[in-house]
Symmetry: C2
Subunit: 211 residues, 2 copies
């Protein structure tokens, strides 16, 4: 057994200044993006001084990069795990929709953050932020093709099916203020409308793919 003194753990203590800074930065960056975020606001929310931000994270860019990595590495594996479990297809789709709509309605800013920053700096993401092990779904695709062959699913390219499901889950929450305009809904009606999405998406998807 190794007796050398344990060095500072890579994960900072739960309520350390370092952690509070990171959490504050997470909130601010996700809601306002790199350009919109101000170091002063992050410091204020963390309840510490601006100088301390630089003590722990050298620069705004570095801090941003760590937050972005954390967001990405939290979001994508969850999606993947849901898609690649070996539950039967129908159950998998149902669970995916339920889980995903829950997730996005609790964190409406996250998908927008990911998309926006992915559009602005695609290189950085693909080269430094994205985990390399992230691969193309295979179990899900195989399941869809198997069911089509059996005749229990109407023909559809698995990629399109997946994108359709994700679009129906995410978009209405991301575009929430747009719905107010296009549908002419007031905030309370809008909340009601969004709460119906889980059932609606499931119904719509299964009607489209079940023979």
């Amino acid at each position: 057994m190794d007796n050398t003194p344990v060095p500072t753990p890579p994960t900072p203590a739960a309520d350390s200044a370092e952690q509070r800074i990171f959490d504050a930065a997470h909130e601010v960056f996700v809601q306002k993006g790199l350009d919109g975020a101000k170091m002063q606001e992050i410091a204020d929310r963390a309840g510490i001084n601006k100088a301390l931000l630089h003590y722990y994270y050298r620069s705004k860019e570095k801090l941003y990069e760590m937050v972005a990595k954390a967001v990405i590495n939290r979001a994508f594996p969850i999606i993947r795990q849901l898609i690649e479990s070996d539950d039967p297809l129908e159950q998998k789709i149902t669970r995916f929709i339920d889980f995903y709509i829950d997730l996005v309605s609790r964190n409406p800013f996250v998908p927008l953050f990911v998309i926006t920053e992915l559009n602005k700096h695609p290189d950085r993401f693909f080269e430094t932020i994205l985990p390399k092990e992230l691969l193309k779904p295979s179990i899900f695709f195989a399941q869809v093709e198997a069911e089509i062959a059996k005749g229990t699913l109407r023909p559809i390219q698995p990629q399109h099916l997946l994108v359709n499901i994700v679009s129906l889950c995410i978009f209405p929450f991301v575009a929430r203020p747009m719905l107010r305009i296009v549908l002419g809904l007031q905030p309370p009606e809008l909340a009601q409308f969004l709460s119906e999405r889980k059932a609606e998406v499931k119904k719509f998807v299964f009607q489209a793919i079940k023979p």
Copy 2:
């Protein structure tokens, strides 16, 4: 006939500095948002000096506001017109999908701009930018309900149908770099995939709603 001298027309001449500034600002604001856009870059793209921006448009905020109004007032009436024409429902949906996907694949940044800025400054949009005449769709909703009553459409709330269609059209283009990750597609395959969306969305929607 009135002989008073015609004052400066409200629309600036096609290739005036004023117009070139506006066009440059349009590009930059739509791609980078209010915070990300720099006056210097707008001036450079317009091929003029920074000072001239202020001569014509007083401030960055004012310039931004004009661009935002233009984007909104171009985008929404088109959508509305498509939805509210009195073509038969099936044809209307087909045309809407074709037109909308064409539009969004030529201008992938616009929906993201609208959504982002709508999230950041909802008040400004609802109070000053948005045209007041923009009302809730009615013809489309009535058509859907009529067809459901006739039994030529499966029961669905018209609002959800509209949101489903829009989600399926917009999201894949807005989230293009995300697809690369989730589907594991390289750029050429991705382009191929997106070119299939028109046919795919139509098939998916009609399978979901036709009895």
